[in-house]
């Protein structure tokens, strides 16, 4: 198995169809295939052991991804927001590397990688040089992509995704050539995010043209979607929130071509998804949950689930809107307690997943998969009677107060019900009496007011008194990273300083 098999099939099946387009470049599937081969030849000749990309989305992304697969070296998309020592440390871990980067960076990184080339030079050479005879390893165990985790809790780990994981994910979730000739997907997540990688692979195998937005901006997203008659898009919750905000006080988003909008990568506030569904009445919404270590999506809340939940008066059905849906057919899910025993529906524990696409491996640290293939996600959650999964935040974020485990997500959900509250983050802070105490950082809606005591009373009424935040601070906004992950360690650090 090799990712190249997916591109080769696309090139054979619909080679002349346009595969990707940006402001200044458009490539058909056959052209991506030929460019990947020519670039692979360059990489092989250089002797580099990794093909790294430190850049925003551009047509160089799919070319480099497949060139690495063809050449038999791991593809390493790096976070382009990193600078200085952080970046140099990552580059040192993948040397000797062939690095594709933006022109402004190329000179300063000249001595940090074996080969440094700009996106433009890389693409030009790939398109002009001859394509070698197809030949790539079919060893399913070779490393396909190394993705450095965001390192929100320490030194970044490099998640290892092998060809077998990614090919299994695509074959298990995408039907070959399923896209219509004029379908287009708008990709606004960066290449160093698993969703950015998955979107390239899914789109190529489905035959869906990729339109890229290198730096997310809600107004640009809207105009790009309209101008290109975009049919599909994936966004993280913060992006959808900003898109909805940017559309303002209108009745409809006026994007009739947009048939499907999927989202994932963080918790979607109920108010945002409800507003979005009202603004995009003809668009099918899908919530996808997955991790880097699981080669992207493992559960889906599909369009019908969304519609049924919104139309229902039954609170249990309506709650499905904040679920991440059910497991893909190729994935198994179990909720387990601290002793590793499976829990019945309704009970909270750690989410474990199993399937061919699940890697659970980090470079230099080996695999955290159990012998029978189960991967402990460190995400907390519970399943309802019909297998719908509800997320409860990271297990490591659980607050242990006087021996009782408290889930921040449960308390945040109650706080968010208050009409004045725009956003809430609950963390544990050191406490002499209880070990940990509950603290909450709150962002208010513009022009709204609420007292600490009112919020404490709200939590006391709906949950047990142990869940009532002993400290509450009000902030203009809460800290998120650029892909929409709440940075709890910053919230915690701010409480520690105060």
């Amino acid at each position: 198995m090799n990712l190249m098999m997916l591109l080769e099939m696309a090139s054979q099946g619909f080679g002349s169809r346009r595969g990707i387009e940006s402001e200044d470049t458009a490539l058909s599937y056959e052209e991506i295939f030929r460019a990947a081969g020519a670039a692979a030849e360059e990489v092989r000749r250089s002797g580099a052991k990794h093909l790294a990309l430190l850049d925003v989305s551009s047509p160089a992304v799919p070319v480099a991804l497949f060139a690495a697969a063809w050449a038999g070296v791991p593809f390493v998309p790096l976070n382009y927001r990193l600078t200085g020592d952080e970046l140099h440390a990552l580059l040192a871990r993948i040397e000797p590397a062939y690095l594709v980067t933006e022109p402004e960076r190329a000179d300063t990184l000249r001595d940090r990688a074996a080969i440094v080339t700009t996106r433009q030079d890389f693409l030009a050479a790939a398109r002009n040089n001859p394509t070698p005879e197809p030949s790539w390893s079919m060893d399913p165990d070779e490393i396909s992509i190394l993705l450095f985790t965001s390192g929100t809790t320490g030194t970044p780990k490099a998640a290892v995704l092998r060809h077998k994981h990614l090919v299994s994910y695509i074959l298990g979730s995408v039907e070959f050539g399923a896209a219509a000739e004029d379908d287009a997907v708008l990709v606004s997540v960066p290449p160093y995010h698993i969703a950015g990688m998955a979107s390239v692979l899914s789109s190529v195998y489905a035959g869906r043209r990729i339109v890229q937005l290198p730096n997310f901006d809600p107004a640009e997203w809207i105009s790009l979607a309209r101008d290109n008659a975009v049919s599909n898009a994936f966004v993280v919750p913060t992006m959808l929130s900003r898109i909805v905000e940017s559309l303002g006080d209108v009745d409809s988003a006026d994007m009739p071509a947009l048939r499907a909008l999927s989202y994932g990568g963080g918790k979607m506030p109920l108010a945002v998804i409800e507003r979005a569904m009202a603004l995009f009445p003809d668009t099918a919404f899908t919530n996808a949950y997955g991790l880097t270590e699981t080669s992207s999506t493992v559960t889906l809340l599909g369009p019908d689930d969304h519609r049924t939940a919104v139309a229902s008066d039954d609170p249990a059905m309506r709650q499905r809107l904040v679920s991440v849906g059910r497991a893909l057919p190729s994935i198994e899910i179990e909720i387990r307690n601290d002793e590793g025993e499976p829990l019945p529906p309704g009970e909270r524990g750690e989410i474990h997943v199993r399937g061919e696409q699940v890697s659970g491996e980090y470079l230099g640290r080996g695999s955290v998969l159990a012998a029978d293939g189960w991967f402990p996600t460190r995400d907390g959650g519970w399943l309802d009677e019909e297998g719908y999964l509800f997320l409860e935040g990271r297990v490591d974020d659980v607050i242990v107060r006087g021996g009782e485990n408290l889930s921040p997500g449960e308390i945040e959900d109650v706080l968010l019900e208050h009409p004045a509250v725009a956003d809430a983050a609950v963390v544990g802070i050191p406490d002499e009496e209880w070990g940990e105490a509950v603290a909450a950082a709150i962002a208010l809606k513009p022009g709204q007011q609420v007292t600490e005591a009112e919020l404490q009373e709200l939590v006391r009424q709906q949950l047990r008194s142990s869940r009532v935040p002993t400290r509450i601070v009000f902030k203009d906004e809460l800290p998120y990273n650029e892909t929409g992950k709440l940075l709890r360690r910053i919230v915690r650090a701010e409480f520690a300083q105060a």
């Binding site: 198995m1 098999m5 080769e8 099939m9 054979q12 099946g13 079919m138 399913p140 077998k164 074959l171 979730s173 995408v174 039907e175 070959f176 050539g177 399923a178 997907v185 969703a195 998955a198 979107s199 899914s202 489905a206 869906r208 599909n232 994936f234 499907a260 999927s262 994932g264 099918a284 899908t286 996808a288 992207s296 999506t297 889906l300 599909g302 369009p303 893909l328 057919p329």
Partner: protein
């Protein structure tokens, strides 16, 4: 031919067809394409020719399954032969498309 292994690839002895094994039974099962047993991807064709009564062709990207449902093959390269196993033709598996998630 040796037992089929998920992830491995086989080719037709008589046409261009290539298949990747998605699922296979534990027991030995001979897959036929164009009237002749399929061979390992790197094996040399025997020189056999396409049988007239097994020439309906294979389609790129389609999944082929047996009646029992324990054999599933993905067509990675199409050809002129038609597929069979255990004395019966393989059928194209109906697509149950999932919503696009990325």
């Amino acid at each position: 031919m040796a037992q089929l292994k998920p992830g491995s690839r086989i080719r037709s002895d008589v046409c261009d067809t290539e298949m990747m094994v998605i699922a296979a039974p534990d027991s030995d099962l001979e897959v036929i394409c164009g009237g002749a047993p399929m061979i390992e991807l790197n094996a040399e064709p025997s020189g056999a020719t396409l049988a007239d009564d097994a020439a309906e062709g294979t389609q790129l990207g389609k999944r082929y399954v047996n009646e029992a449902g324990d054999l599933e093959l993905l067509c990675t390269k199409p050809g002129k032969g038609s597929l069979g196993a255990g004395g019966a033709p393989l059928q194209v598996k109906g697509a149950k498309p999932l919503p696009a998630s990325d």
